[in-house]
């Protein structure tokens, strides 16, 4: 269970070029947007790409993105429920 969360943190750091962060810096409940990790609109799009590439989930409505990507935990639960890879 926690492996997916650690894996997600690693992939997010790589995909979004968050070079100055370590896995330990990203708490499972930390808001990824706004005052938490401070991700922006391009980052949402990149996370949608990551969902498709790594987990085979095609998000048809990018509006859902902000809910699904609200935290590592929310993202992991969505992936567990919908992954095809």
């Amino acid at each position: 269970m926690s492996d997916l969360r650690e894996e997600l943190k690693q992939r997010i750091i790589e995909q979004l070029n968050l070079e100055e962060l370590t896995l330990a810096d990203i708490d499972n409940e930390l808001p990824l947007f706004g005052d938490g990790l401070g991700l922006d609109s391009i980052d949402v799009l990149e996370l949608i790409v990551l969902l498709e590439k790594d987990y085979g989930i095609k998000l048809s409505d990018s509006e859902l993105g902000k809910e699904i990507f609200a935290s590592i935990d929310k993202m992991a639960r969505y992936i567990e429920a919908n992954r095809t890879k």
Partner: protein, 381 residues
């Protein structure tokens, strides 16, 4: 006040290969946006304003062998050649060439059907220069979607400083898979013809065009002339792809352009907006227009007729704005359904005739750039 005169122009677009043809099409409410098949899109294709290749080649064949020139080159050379045909007295050793394009011959990247340097923007500029024999090195601007209008502003600034006395401002860009795939990754391509400022807008439609505008520090002989009397550009400084929520850069550009023109918002008769039909752009523009006190001024976007022609768009639309002033015509903002921005705007829903004197043209682009141009119609004494 330093100003330049907008003398003659040519538009090469899906709606025709002359300004006159384009104006006729707009009066008849025709749009250049058609459905084009493309496997990249879940619905099987996209709506775009694409110039028919064979028609272009037929128009170009009098200038050169279409097989030896890329589509964009044919478009841009055709536009310049028609300016030169109509203005045989132009001396190419004193006429500057100011070119605007975002991606040039980008369809040549990774494809060797033409020599290497044609794919780069300098190569394109040099080709156009040498084709006609312009003596001055072209000034080439690549500044996202404000490029076409910025090229006009740059021409005015250098003309006003006496660096040259006339210039052909030339803009051009293609609908390419390169750009389509990029905007698609942003979820920014509308599945239907784009609807600027509308409640049901779902993103952009891309378009391609070339436009050429002859500008000078000397006015023409005719009874009426159009001049560019104010212009300004300002960066949002907030994000490289999303516009400022408060319309900061556009608001500042409008203020500065009006100040240079020695005018206030109440003097503006018509606003030709950028209106790309993305959720954020149109909302940002509405905010900036509202802050500038322009919310009651008749306003349209030409993107419903042409799609977003990138480096050509602001120049093409400035030419249409010029003719709107000349002919006292206001074109409908095509595909508008109902207002879908949070500030009131006076969107043109139908063609109308109205006495016009001052127009504002605006543009915004990736990188947070914004531009405002003030055009004025005056009678010759």
């Amino acid at each position: 006040m330093k100003k330049i005169y907008l003398l003659d122009d040519v538009i090469v677009s899906p709606l025709g290969f002359s300004t006159r043809e384009n104006l006729t099409a707009l009066r008849e409410g025709r749009s250049g946006l058609k459905f084009h098949k493309n496997n990249r899109f879940p619905c099987g294709g996209f709506y775009g304003g694409i110039i028919e290749k064979d028609s272009l080649a037929n128009a170009f064949v009098g200038l050169g062998d279409p097989k030896k020139f890329t589509k964009l080159e044919q478009m841009m050379l055709l536009a310049v050649s028609r300016i030169l045909e109509k203005n045989p007295g132009l001396h190419l050793y004193e006429t500057a060439l100011v070119i605007s394009t975002t991606k040039g011959n980008i369809d040549l990247l990774g494809n060797s059907s033409f020599p290497g340097d044609r794919g780069n923007l300098c190569g394109l500029g040099n080709l156009i220069r040498d084709f006609f024999g312009f003596q001055r090195q072209p000034i080439l601007i690549s500044n996202a979607c404000i490029s076409g209008g910025l090229a006009l502003a740059v021409a005015k600034r250098l003309l006003a400083a006496g660096k040259f006395s006339q210039a052909i401002v030339l803009g051009g860009d293609l609908v390419s898979d390169f750009v389509l795939s990029g905007f698609h990754s942003f979820g920014a391509i509308s599945p239907e013809p784009c609807r600027p400022f509308s409640k049901n807008r779902k993103g952009i439609s891309l378009g391609e065009a070339a436009a050429a505008l002859l500008v000078s520090s000397r006015k023409s002989q005719g009874p009426v002339h159009i001049s560019l009397i104010g212009e300004a550009s300002a960066n949002d400084a907030t994000h490289i792809s999303a516009p400022s929520r408060t319309g900061e850069g556009l608001f500042k550009s409008i203020q500065n352009a009006l100040r240079e023109a020695q005018l206030c918002p109440g003097d503006v008769d018509y606003v030709s907006a950028h209106g790309t039909a993305t959720a954020y752009n149109d909302e940002m523009e509405a905010t900036a227009f509202h802050r500038s006190g322009l919310f009651g001024v008749p306003l349209n976007s030409f993107k419903g007729a042409y799609g977003h022609s990138l480096g050509a768009s602001a120049l093409l639309e400035s030419i249409l704005t010029k003719h709107s002033l000349l002919n006292n015509e206001l074109f409908a903002s095509m595909n508008f359904d109902e207002l879908g921005v949070s500030k009131p705007l006076n969107i043109l829903r139908a063609f109308e005739r109205k006495e016009l004197k001052i127009a504002l043209k605006t543009a915004s682009g990736f990188g947070g750039c914004n531009l405002a141009l003030v055009l004025k119609k005056e009678e010759n004494d």
